[in-house]
């Protein structure tokens, strides 16, 4: 999350063709394509879950709990007799939603803070960097767990807790980008002319910083899904009867011996989603690095 990716800065005017070149590079990257494919399928599932699911995810049958797979229930039933397959389909909605929103929130918060730090420099920068470092001293899961415990149950609080920690990586990346770019001649020139810092940020710095931030957002979605799983596994997070993969994994885990599919299936979905987002992020990073594959100067 806190990688600093060295990117060749794009002078103004060349952004559009550079962006196209970027997209092309990503698609050509095989792993990333696979990842994109998986994500597309998952999004499709999430959006069309009501049409795809054979049952409502809330219909219980207490006399048919933990049933093995059958023609009626392709993956069997869960601990309340609900169709596991349908629960998984609907679960895609929650997990993807949590992943994407958490990541976006973290990015929004982190980029803003990083811009302030990088652009202002001096004492403000120093303070912000120390605060970032302090946050990063905590193991992510523990911090988010504590925050979730503090804020209370529910999905919004999980996402908020994640953002309260996840901003750190984005702040670092953004700041790094700003520092790199602001020393360049054309920025100095713009300042000399008297352009407002805000305009400079928007017109010159942000477009160049977008690329590594995009990489980070993609990978953060995977991390956010994993964190939601972890938080749900420990008992916080989504409230019943909503289905999320993390919650299914947690409850399925207690019935591992009697109904292994109950935890294997959500676990598989989670892994697929996280892998897919990591593939895409990986491909993006490879495509962006001008020094040929690998991550250049990387510091986690």
């Amino acid at each position: 999350m806190s990688e600093v990716v060295r990117v060749a800065p794009i002078p103004p005017g060349r952004s559009r063709s550079a962006r196209l070149a970027l997209l092309r590079a990503v698609f050509q990257h095989r792993l990333a394509s696979v990842g994109l494919g998986i994500i597309a399928v998952l999004c499709f599932i999430a959006v069309f879950a009501p049409l795809l699911a054979p049952y409502s995810p809330y219909d219980q049958d207490l006399y048919k709990v933990l049933a093995p797979p059958s023609a009626a229930h392709w993956l069997g039933t869960d601990n309340l007799g609900r169709d596991l397959f349908s629960r998984l389909l609907y679960g895609a909605r929650v997990s993807l939603f949590v992943g994407i929103v958490s990541s976006a929130l973290s990015a929004a918060l982190g980029v803003a803070i990083g811009l302030v730090a990088g652009f202002n420099g001096g004492v403000i920068d120093a303070i912000i960097m120390r605060v970032t470092d302090a946050f990063l001293c905590f193991p992510p899961l523990i911090f988010i767990l504590a925050m979730s415990a503090a804020l209370g149950p529910g999905l919004q609080n999980v996402m908020l807790s994640f953002a309260l920690f996840g901003w750190t990586g984005f702040a670092r990346i953004t700041r790094g980008q700003v520092l790199q770019i602001r020393e360049l001649p054309f920025i100095e020139a713009a300042r000399a002319i008297g352009m407002s810092p805000y305009w400079i940020m928007r017109r010159h710095i942000l477009p160049n910083a977008v690329a590594p931030i995009l990489v980070a957002i993609t990978i953060t979605v995977g991390t956010a899904i994993l964190i939601e799983t972890g938080v749900s596994f420990l008992g916080l997070g989504v409230q019943p009867p909503t289905a999320s993969w993390g919650k299914e994994l947690r409850i399925g885990f207690t019935y591992l011996e009697t109904a292994p599919l109950f935890s294997l299936a959500p676990g598989l979905m989670i892994s697929l989603a996280v892998v897919a987002f990591n593939f895409v992020g990986d491909g993006l990073r490879d495509a962006l690095d001008p020094r040929l594959r690998g991550a250049g100067l990387v510091r986690r």
Binding site: D133, C137, F143, A149, I270, V275, V298
Partner: protein, 318 residues
């Protein structure tokens, strides 16, 4: 160099202070305390007087700021208090569990190195081949699978279906070294596959970077076999990030360690810390957070100093 170290040290102290404030804020925000947590499930607390008495005995009826200040005073003097949830002395709990978690980390690191370095080297040498793609995919998968899922699947395959290793439990090394190693085999493996995946990627990219250098081209031009080139000139410089990556990944390992510790019934620090959060066991929770953060801080500091020593540019830039 000394100025550099001095600056870094100062930064670390500031960060430590901020961490302490953060820990306090967390403790402040989390509702309830350990006795109240116990109330929910323990009918020994059936009497309001009992609850009030126990809370008073543990000083939980004081305002949080006071509690924290008192705790901090004792903490820095080495008196880490008593766990409200289990009644043990907190420092004792740490000392008991630290070597266990350390063993887990060391074992995991060994696995990570054993898996990650060869995979990374092969990936770099056979770059962009089918093998490389397969390995890259494998490392990403290794990083993405939730640790607890991997653990459960492995337990059932290797401990119940084919009883190769014990399903769980920890036997102190001092008591029976062989059994201890056998019991730690699976937990360290599960924890190690994650770092192993990461390490493989770093090794690969680092080695690639080294292989792109001029002096490698020179060595090839001199007529050295590819093998000699790689072994004699590329590997050592390529390994530099390994140490730092391993060190830095220890911070992230703690979260994974928690799951591994719970599932394999290993009495380590990770499990203790998270349980403390759930049970609102403030002395344990606060001590764990600070110790863990301190650990990460020290590692970062060491890495910073190391980098500063190795790469003069970093010193100047800072």
């Amino acid at each position: 160099m000394f100025r550099y170290i001095g600056v870094r040290l100062m930064h670390s102290l500031v960060i430590l202070a901020l961490v302490t404030v953060l820990v306090f804020v967390i403790a402040q925000l989390i509702p309830g305390d350990a006795i109240m947590a116990a109330m929910a499930g323990n009918v020994d607390m059936h009497d309001a007087q009992v609850v009030a008495r126990v809370r008073h005995q543990f000083g939980l009826d004081q305002p949080i700021l006071v509690q924290f200040a008192v705790w901090l005073q004792h903490f820095v003097r080495g008196d880490w208090g008593t766990s409200i949830g289990t009644g043990e002395n907190v420092l004792q709990m740490f000392l008991h569990r630290l070597p266990i978690t350390l063993e887990l980390f060391f074992g995991a690191t060994l696995w990570a190195v054993a898996i990650g370095i060869p995979v990374g080297i092969v990936g770099a040498l056979k770059r962009n081949s089918a093998l490389d793609m397969f390995l890259t995919a494998g490392t990403i998968v290794g990083v993405s699978i939730p640790a607890f899922w991997e653990a459960i699947v492995l337990i059932y395959l290797l401990a119940v279906v084919f009883p190769i290793v014990p399903p769980s439990g920890y036997i102190p090394f001092g008591e029976h070294p062989l059994l201890n190693l056998r019991a730690m085999l699976l937990p360290t493996f599960v924890l190690g596959t994650h770092s192993g995946g990461l390490l493989a990627r770093y090794v690969r990219s680092s080695l690639l970077e080294v292989l792109g250098q001029d002096y490698i081209r020179t060595a090839r031009a001199k007529g050295l076999s590819e093998r000699a080139v790689v072994v004699r000139h590329a590997i050592k410089p390529g390994m530099i990030p390994v140490v730092t990556v391993i060190g830095l990944s220890w911070g992230g390992m703690l979260a994974g360690a928690f799951f591994v510790e719970v599932i394999f019934a290993i009495p380590g620090l990770g499990r203790m810390g998270v349980e403390a959060i759930f049970q609102r066991d403030f002395p344990v929770m606060q001590a764990t957070l600070i110790v863990v953060s301190l650990n990460v801080l020290l590692v970062n500091l060491s890495v910073d100093i190391l980098y500063g020593y190795l790469d003069p540019r970093v010193r100047v830039r800072a």
